[in-house]
C-alpha cells in the first residue's frame, strides 16, 4: 500500500518536472541590433515627395517620376549639346 503511494507521488513529481521543463521559455540570447545610418533610397525620397504633395497624388507622382528619371540623363546630354551648338555659333 505504501509502495503504491510512493510510486504515485514519484509519478506526479516526474509529471510536474516534465510540465515545468516543457512550458518554461528558454533563455535564448537575443541578437543585439544597432540602428545604422538611414540610406537615402528612391523609396524614401518618393515618400518625402508624397508627403509634400498629399495622398491623392501619390500614385500619379510615383509613375510620372519614374518616367522622368529614366529620361533625365538623356535630357541633360541633349540640353548641354544644344547649348554648345547654340553658343558656339557666336565664336566664329
Amino acid at each position: 500500500m505504501i509502495s503504491k503511494m510512493i510510486i504515485a507521488i514519484v509519478a506526479l513529481l516526474v509529471i510536474a518536472i516534465l510540465a515545468y521543463v516543457i512550458t518554461t521559455p528558454r533563455n535564448v540570447p537575443q541578437e543585439q541590433v544597432t540602428p545604422g545610418p538611414t540610406e537615402i533610397t528612391e523609396e524614401t525620397v518618393s515618400s518625402e515627395v508624397s508627403s509634400v504633395l498629399g495622398e491623392q497624388y501619390s500614385s500619379l507622382i510615383e509613375e510620372e517620376l519614374n518616367n522622368l528619371s529614366i529620361e533625365q540623363t538623356d535630357f541633360n546630354t541633349q540640353t548641354q549639346n544644344s547649348m554648345a551648338n547654340d553658343l558656339s555659333q557666336f565664336y566664329y
Binding site: 509634400v52 507622382i61 517620376l65 533625365q72 548641354q80 553658343l87 558656339s88 566664329y92
Partner: protein
C-alpha cells in the same frame, strides 16, 4: 569714264575680298565641332532635376538643367578674330580659348522641358537653398548671330512664358553628396500657377 569707274570698283571689291580672306580657309564642320567641344569644356553643371507641377485641375511634368557657362563678350571675340595672324582655325580657336580662360565671364544658363517642349531659363539665381528663373521661348540663335545680336540679348528678346521659384525641402543623408533632394515651390507657366515639386541633383 564709266568703264574705268566700273573697273576701279571691281578692283576694290576683289582687293577687299582678298584682304578679308587673307588667312583663314573656309570653316569646315570639323572646325565648328572643335569650337563646340572647346566651349563644352567650360560648362559646369550646377543643378538639374525633374518634377511635377500641379493645381486643382491640372498637372504638368518638367525636366530642367542649370549649368555654369564661361562666355566672352561678342566684341572681344571680334577683336580677337580681326587682330589674329592665325592661318588656321585651330590657331584662332586657341586664341579665343586663352581669352575665355583669362577674361571670360561665368554665367548661368538653363533649359527646361515642359510637356515635351524645350524652353530656356534666364535671369537664373541658384543658392544652396533656393533657385529662381524666368522661362522663355527658345530663341533662334542663328538669326541673332546674323543680326549681330549677342546670345544673351537674343535670349531675353524672346517671349517670357513663365517663371520658377523653388526652395529646398529635404536634405540628403550626406551634406556634400550628389544624392537628390526634394525642392518645391511655384511654377508659373502660360498664365497658370502650379505647385511644383521636384527632385534636384546638386553638382556644385
Amino acid at each position: 569714264m564709266k568703264k574705268s569707274l566700273a573697273l576701279f570698283v571691281i578692283i576694290i571689291a576683289m582687293t577687299t575680298t582678298l584682304v578679308l580672306a587673307r588667312n583663314l580657309p573656309a570653316m569646315t564642320v570639323a572646325n565648328k565641332l572643335s569650337y563646340k567641344t572647346m566651349l563644352q569644356n567650360y560648362f559646369h553643371p550646377v543643378l538639374h532635376g525633374y518634377g511635377i507641377g500641379f493645381n486643382e485641375s491640372s498637372y504638368l511634368t518638367a525636366k530642367w538643367n542649370i549649368i555654369n557657362v564661361r562666355i566672352l563678350a561678342r566684341n572681344t571675340i571680334r577683336q580677337i578674330a580681326s587682330a589674329t595672324n592665325a592661318t588656321d582655325w585651330s590657331q584662332l580657336r586657341a586664341e579665343i580659348q586663352t581669352a575665355l580662360q583669362n577674361s571670360g565671364t561665368e554665367i548661368k544658363k538653363g533649359r527646361i522641358r515642359i510637356g515635351g517642349t524645350d524652353y530656356i531659363l534666364t535671369n537664373i539665381t541658384v543658392s544652396n537653398e533656393t533657385a529662381t528663373a524666368d522661362i522663355r521661348e527658345m530663341p533662334v540663335y542663328a538669326t541673332c548671330n546674323q543680326q549681330n545680336i549677342s546670345a544673351e540679348d537674343c535670349e531675353i528678346s524672346t517671349t517670357k512664358v513663365g517663371d520658377l521659384s523653388l526652395t529646398k525641402k529635404t536634405e540628403a543623408y550626406e551634406d556634400n553628396s550628389t544624392d537628390p533632394r526634394v525642392w518645391a515651390g511655384i511654377l508659373n507657366f502660360k498664365n497658370v500657377t502650379y505647385t511644383f515639386v521636384t527632385f534636384a541633383y546638386p553638382r556644385w
